[in-house]
Subunit: 189 residues, 2 copies
């Protein structure tokens, strides 16, 4: 019988697409097998488990996101860089909600350390070069920016912002303005 040509990479990519279509939580070994028109057990030659599959999708998403982020930050500085980076996260989440959710998948310590996750922190730290912050404050600021980006995006995606009043695009712009102002006037301890 003809072979389907499965590989861990193809499964991961298809899993990412599936996540965007039906939600990361609904990504299942069975659903993926159906998508390849193949029996479920066949996937287990390529991925160790459901957890392994999800981890691979998470790593893919983290890498895509870091690539986009690196691209956006390159050649920009200050508020320009800040906005570009922030938009990468927000746009990615809107274009690829399933992948964005995957990027939040809890990785064990060593997997996380080897992931593109570390690049994210570096990129965020990079845009802070355009602002005048002392070393420990940079770390605080990195965490703050991460919190705002992630928090905003996940609330917006989850419908946490009532679809009322000022639209979310306006809030986003004002939020980035506010962050820029804040970084330029970072309060002393």
């Amino acid at each position: 019988m003809a072979r389907a040509g499965l590989t861990a990479e193809r499964l991961t990519r298809a899993g990412a697409e599936l996540a965007d279509e039906v939600g990361f939580a609904q990504v299942t070994v069975s659903a993926l097998a159906r998508r390849f028109d193949v029996k479920v057990a066949s996937l287990y030659s390529h991925v160790k488990s459901s957890h392994d599959l999800k981890t691979r999708i998470a790593l893919l998403a983290l890498e895509e996101l870091a690539d986009r982020a690196a691209d956006a930050v390159a050649g920009r500085a200050g508020k320009d860089a800040l906005v570009a980076l922030a938009d990468v996260y927000r746009d990615y989440a809107r274009e690829h909600p399933g992948r964005y959710a995957a990027a939040q998948y809890r990785l064990d310590t060593e997997t996380a350390r080897a992931s593109a996750g570390v690049r994210h922190a570096q990129l965020t730290r990079a845009i802070l070069r355009g602002y005048d912050l002392t070393e420990p404050d940079q770390t605080h600021a990195v965490r703050l920016l991460g919190s705002v980006f992630h928090g905003y995006v996940s609330l917006e995606l989850g419908g946490g912002f009532s679809h009322s009043a000022p639209d979310t695009q306006e809030t986003w712009i004002r939020t980035l303005d506010a962050l820029d102002t804040l970084l330029r006037n970072w309060p002393a301890p």
Copy 2:
């Protein structure tokens, strides 16, 4: 045979405890049945489905959280209120990670509208009375604060902050300082 005395409320409370112990994602009708030493099917007289159970736990968490928040904000203003409210979220998430995750469970529109979720927005808006913001800016600020609180807490809980350098408590304090500064110097459009 003796009855177990199940009710939707007891199941919900036990489900919340279970969530804190093993994670919200691991809360399952089966696990809950085991906890009550009862057969799985028995629970279906009290909750409609797994989704119904999770929704109830989410609503419980949202209410507990809103109660604590209301308590914290009462009699405080300005930065004092800001810090108190923020600490409620963070402390709740640390004490009850499963419940906190439950509070993030996606509710359908009408359930959300009837939930304590709306109280949260009101409470956040309330602390902004201590700052001088125009009406539309209040909404933006509510969303920003929600983003920071949620983003920070979920990153911290998920291990998103490498356990390195300055500890997270310090970052938290500096983050709240920063937010206070920001609200007092809210940039014009």
